[in-house]
Amino acid sequence: MIKRLIDWLKQPLGLIAVGIALLAVFSFAAYGISLTQQPPEQPVQFPHQTHVAFGIQCLYCHPGAAKGPAAGIPSQAKCWACHNQIAKTETSLLLAPLKQAVLSGQPLEWVPVAQVPDFVQFNHRAHVAAGQNCENCHGDMSKVTIAENPQVFNMGFCLDCHKQVAGDDHEKLVKLVDCGTCHY
């Protein structure tokens, strides 16, 4: 049987079959990978670029970034403060969930897309204080609707920047590549 099979595979039709099969595997795999890269489902299709276009500063909605470890997601009260003065809020489908949430007093459940593993202790304040702009890590928000992470936050990404920033300042370098700076 096996021998017959192998012989059959050797002839053109068999080769094609094998080709198709391999193709199938790869497409499945590719599909699989693509699944993992989908941005998650968000309660509101929040258009970042619109808000940036209105000239709203990042820190207005994410004030934590300048003060401590977490930038934070604004409370819906904050959204409402502006939006209840905007006529469009009443009509817009896009904003329906916000309206509904505020009226029903149910929190909006956002899914953060920029995240690091739990064994990484990240502190926004330090980075902002060091003069890093939000877009250096989070990308240009004037281009996106739902925030998407331009790059995976892995250790290589962090270290690259840390080493560049440190430059020749050895003391700084030591601090910035110290395992204990992020992992404890």
Partner: protein, 728 residues
């Protein structure tokens, strides 16, 4: 052939493809996505990822230490000491640290329950029904048929209930706690009354002393106010201003307090009074001059003989009294928990008169009474509990409200509280946890955990300053629980009539405000405020209110010397050959057993975790043919229990000791069916002050042949040389 084969082939490979997908999905960020719930209305002062700190009061024991609780995103994540608080100055004990394991305990009572007594399963009710139940209980019984049994912490609730009862003629609330039982507070207070003419809790300035004689007082563990007394001990040793003070402990078993003493004197149990008086007399004789009545009829020789201490030793101690200043003698612990407990207390207090240290640095004071409190209110002695139990048994009590105490576990079994409960028609428990008593109640209306509640606690001892320690919720209630104060207020309103008049408050907070309002016009406070709201704000911010100045009271020692002190020796009940010495587990205390991390803390003396043991002198064990971990049966006149042996090198050969704290039959997964409860061995024997003579028993030991390995942190090889080979 062709297509058939290729299809199968294809499917196979497709399968491989999907498998790959499955694996890959696990690797991508998608696997890490979590939903996040932002504040709906973020408080002004919070920022995401930054902690907020709230001051409150620890409810793990009655001392009332100030806590500062670190909260993050609405969760309490760490308790720390309140540095401003006069009692603990920013420090905490292990139990204070582990209080979070109470707050987030997986076995809390989540809703008001109605149950058939003894049934673990119970029907949930809503709070309206619960309040209705309480209101009905108020109305349908005659005032003297209702009784409140309360714990030693959360004073505000006690005050509220007292008001309620006094204004409606209900029986006044009774407070009890195993700790106060083992502390023999009643005896201390009574002795003070006899000696100084007023009842009060003495304060011993260990920190200022030069030499400390402790007669059984385990003040570094659970006695009165361990945190502040530990600070005192540090002062005694460090001696910033003076040389390192020395410390002598008389105790038949080396407690972890005695472990820190320079000299540990395992005297004959029951002879403490003799020793104290003998030392006093010898000292006075050395000083010369007339011998006061108090020390007239004691013969040092007999004292030495009866106590098993050489006369020379007693004389050496007497010299200390004569030669060095700042000598302090502390009565406490097992020494008071004997039939002659009161005599011991008086003798030892009088010994301080020899040192003449009353009201001096390193001497004896009266603890300042808390703000707004005229005289020290002590919790009930076991004798008074016995009266209550009697009334219950006789059916005079129809409805019993239980809060903050677990009598089924904490009272000696010989009091038969269980039987007494059967005589009560309706038992309503306000317990936060499913403890034994809650299990034997008809209703459980769970109170908030201490960290979720309002309130205040009077600092009854341990602090130089008169202090009222304040509680506030540091997190919003985790379950469908409700503050008992609110429940009572609501029920009273519902019951109407006197009840409504008795508690004319909107809620607990309003009641609190009324209670602390008088402090507004108090002078010399840690803070002052123009109006009640500002005051309450600061009260919450600082975690209470206290005087700035030292407000300890100097006792009136006019006729201390001129009283007859009977040099009584203790009598011991039961015919066994061993003195039985129960002691409170320093880490678990009365209510710690349901907190996993307290269970995992090694006992300071034996390093045993998660269990109960009996301490037996190695010599005795050898004679009885007992090894470590052998399970023995301890039999007293009141009961018996089986417990594994710990061969303890620092205990009298004729004494055995068992820690109190384990042996729960309910109280959650970490406490249940773990260890034994020495209270089961205690008979009804009291001292003159009505405190239980818990150290006044004699017991027998029987082998069982069983073995139960104890979990020790220490290495039995490294510490005791067991199993290292013969030469060791």
């Amino acid at each position: 052939m062709t297509d058939k084969f290729s299809r199968r082939d294809f499917l196979k490979l497709a399968g491989v493809g999907t498998a790959t997908t499955a694996i890959l999905t696990g690797c991508g960020p998608a696997s890490r996505y979590v939903k996040r719930e932002p504040y709906m209305l973020m408080p002004e002062y919070t920022y995401n990822g930054q902690s907020t700190y709230y001051a409150t009061t620890c409810r793990e024991c009655a001392a009332g230490c100030g806590l500062v609780v670190r909260t993050s995103q609405g969760r309490a994540i760490k308790t720390e000491g309140n540095a401003n608080h006069p009692l603990n100055l920013g420090k905490t004990c292990a139990r204070g640290q582990a209080t979070l394991h109470g707050l987030y305990n997986p076995d809390r009572v989540t809703d008001p329950l109605q149950r058939k007594r003894g049934n673990v399963s119970a029907a949930k009710m809503d709070w309206d029904a619960a309040i209705q139940t309480v209101a009905d209980a108020f109305k349908q019984y005659k005032p003297n048929e209702a009784a409140f049994l309360m714990g030693t912490s959360s004073d505000h609730l006690f005050d509220l209930v007292t008001d309620l009862c006094s204004r409606t003629g209900l029986n006044l609330p009774v407070r009890f706690g195993a700790l106060s039982m083992f502390e023999s507070r009643a005896t201390l207070a009574k002795a003070a009354e006899n000696l100084f003419g007023e009842a009060g809790l003495p304060f011993f300035d260990v920190g200022g002393a030069q030499v400390v004689f402790s007669f059984g007082a385990n003040f570094l563990e659970t006695w009165l106010s361990p945190v502040s007394y530990t600070r005192g001990f540090a002062g005694l040793r460090e001696g910033q201003t003076k040389k390192r003070g020395s410390f002598i402990q008389f105790e038949s078993r080396m407690s972890s307090t005695a472990g820190k003493a320079d000299e540990w004197i395992p005297l004959q149990p029951g002879s403490e009074a003799l020793v104290a008086l003998a030392i006093g007399r010898l000292a006075l004789e050395m000083r010369g001059g007339p011998l006061p009545r108090a020390f007239a009829d004691i013969d040092p020789r007999t004292a030495a003989a009866r106590s098993g201490i050489e006369l020379e030793t007693l004389e050496r101690y007497a010299e200390m009294f004569v030669n060095s200043t700042g000598v302090l003698a502390i009565p406490g612990g097992a020494a008071l928990g004997q039939t002659n407990g009161l005599a011991v207390a008086e003798a030892v207090l009088t010994l301080n008169a020899v040192a003449d240290n009353f009201g001096k640095q390193g001497g004896v004071f009266f603890s300042p009474t808390a703000p707004g409190q005229e005289k020290y209110q002590r919790s009930a002695s076991v004798k008074e509990m016995q009266d209550l139990v009697q009334k219950m048994t006789d059916g005079e009590i129809k409805v019993l409200f239980v809060h903050g105490v677990n009598p089924l576990f904490e009272l000696p079994a010989s009091l038969e509280f269980k039987k007494a409960l059967d005589g009560v028609e309706q038992v309503i428990s306000f317990s936060t946890f499913p403890d034994e008593t809650a299990l034997e109640s008809d209703f459980v209306f769970p109170d908030h955990h201490g960290l979720e509640s309002w309130g205040y606690q009077r600092v009854s001892t341990g602090s130089n300053q008169s202090a009222l320690s304040g509680s506030q919720p540091v997190v919003s209630p985790f379950y469908n629980t409700r503050s008992t104060a609110d429940v009572l207020i609501a029920a009273a309103q519902l019951a109407g009539g006197d009840f409504a008049k008795a508690l004319p408050f909107k809620d607990e907070v309003e009641f609190l405000q009324e209670k602390v309002a008088p402090l507004l016009n108090e002078v010399d406070g840690y803070f002052s405020a123009p109006d009640i709201n500002t005051f309450m704000a600061s009260f919450q911010q600082y975690g209470g209110w206290w005087k700035n100045s030292d407000s300890r009271v100097i006792p009136n020692t006019a006729d201390v010397f001129n009283r007859n002190l009977k040099a009584a020796e203790a009598e011991f009940a039961g015919e066994g050959e061993f003195f039985f010495m129960p002691f409170v587990s320093p880490t678990l205390a009365e209510a710690g057993a349901n907190k996993p991390w307290l269970q995992e803390l090694p006992d300071p003396t034996t390093t045993v975790m998660w269990n109960t043991w009996v301490e037996i002198n190695p010599e005795t064990a050898h004679e009885l043919g007992l090894e470590d971990d052998d399970v023995v049966k301890i039999i007293s006149e009141a009961g018996e229990l089986e417990v594994p042996v710990y061969r303890y090198p620092a205990i009298r050969p004729d004494t055995i000791a068992i820690p109190f704290g384990q042996g729960h039959t309910a109280y959650g997964r970490y406490a249940e069916q773990r260890g034994v409860n020495p209270a089961d061995l205690l008979g009804r024997h009291f001292n003159e002050a009505g405190d239980l003579a818990f150290a006044g028993m004699k017991v027998r030991i029987e082998k069982t042949g069983k073995k139960q390995p104890l979990s020790r942190l220490e290495s039995i090889m490294g510490v005791y040389g067991v199993g290292l080979g013969e030469e060791h």
